[in-house]
Symmetry: C3
Subunit: 204 residues, 3 copies
């Protein structure tokens, strides 16, 4: 169950990675590499930070899934218009799946709740940040979009519930709905960060 | 003693991280994340490179200190003018504390003197470099400021003395004074790298 | 034999790192650090990803070789014109040596063939990508140059042969010739990625 979750999230992130990077990178190799990095980067950062063996070295299926998804996306997505919106919703699904899965893995490895929450965030946004740095796009930390806060809310919710009532199926479905729901609402209404969470720059 | 040193350095770096990143990033979440990354990034790189468990996973207090410092800075620093100078001196204190602490940790783990010196440098400048890459600012390696050389001098001095005369209190106070003093002088007189250490670009 | 290969590749990469970074960075410290990062960065990423102790911490000779090569390059390369072409051919030699050596190390550590191929790629292009990100240059993933594909072909070739017929000297010489040869041809004829491997950007 978790395994299928993981593979779907990998595929989704490889697809969004190729579409997002295609604004700056246009050749097959670069796009497939950036798609694979988007898909595997967050989990790689998580495993390295936890001093654990990297998941795709233990099970190379993840790399094949990421490569195949990136390759198919490269071949077919030019025939779609308006991919940008699809990309945003797919990405919302991917981050929801990834953060839940990373929290489960971290808790199973004996991490405390706060570490597990950080690993949920790192896994779900790490790959996209590496992709943006490598392809020269502004990354999500410098955007004012309502992006990481829904993930954070979902991660705190899921971790709390898993410690109180360890029922994987119920909690994970509920938490994925929370993260995906909040992201979908903020995409649909084009929410950015509310004004009271903003600071005006002092130096120019 | 070393523990208090470490926590103070974390707080100082989280503060400077938020102030530095606030030129490019203006929302609460992004600034707190970049403050925490500035504070914990260098030590994380050190522990990962040494194949050692990451310090803030073993003791989460560091993350709370970094988060609290970043949050308070976000809330109050808009009321201060001329933060830029304060930032530079605080940063000088932070790098001095961090490099000494990293050398101690590396020597305690059985590293040789040259490895310990590199870890001192990596810990004290790593977090700021990650912050600059993520927030799209030019990092210290591309600046001509007299920044890393004072740290390098202090690291070499401290490591040599700790191997010759292992007296932590005396050496650490002296080395922190050296690094902070050299940095403070170069901030005050706005020193950049001397001309004989420069190369003129050959290709444009 | 492999050890000499490794040290030569380190020296070559430190030289190319300094020359490449000198477009953006002009002081001694920054250039030497970027040269050393170019030389050691790829292998460091490989060892960290494999959860193995980092090679230059085990044997500090690599760092001295990288530092000395970077320093000498800093001192002498201003007297050469047309360094750009030399840089490209040196780099082609460096990536050939690095990828072969990384595959050998990975196979010796018990990695499967696909993991070894990825490690070959990561080791040979990782250092240069970190250098480009830190010095604010466009990295090779966003260029359309025929760069990574020759390395990939050589890595697949070498790994396949090492598993079928484990004869280090013959296979490594042949594979280095393949990678260097393909890169040299693409430098000489200024090949970029062929049109059928390109995608036109959909969103601007």
């Amino acid at each position: 169950m978790e395994y299928i979750f993981g593979q779907i999230a990998i595929a989704v992130f490889a697809i969004t990675g190729v579409i997002a990077a295609s604004k700056k990178v246009h050749d097959l190799f670069g796009l497939v590499v950036l798609g694979v990095i988007t898909a595997l980067g967050g989990g790689t950062l998580r495993d390295i930070t936890l001093n654990h063996s990297v998941f795709w070295i233990e099970d190379f299926t993840y790399v094949w899934v990421a490569m195949a998804s990136a390759l198919i996306t490269f071949l077919v997505f030019r025939f779609f218009n308006n991919t940008y919106r699809i990309l945003l919703y797919l990405d919302a699904l991917g981050v929801a799946l990834f953060s839940i899965q990373a929290i489960d893995k971290s808790l199973a490895l004996g991490c405390t709740a706060p570490v597990a929450i950080i690993m949920g965030l790192l896994t779900s946004i790490g790959g996209g940040i590496i992709r943006d740095v490598l392809s020269g796009r502004p990354n999500l930390l410098v955007n004012k979009e309502f992006y990481a806060i829904p993930i954070l809310i979902g991660c705190v919710f899921y971790t709390t519930y898993m410690i109180l009532i360890p029922s994987f199926v119920f909690n994970s479905v509920l938490s994925i709905c929370i993260i995906f729901g909040l992201r979908a609402v903020s995409i649909y209404f084009e929410l950015s960060v509310p004004a009271w969470l903003l600071i005006k720059p002092i130096h120019k």
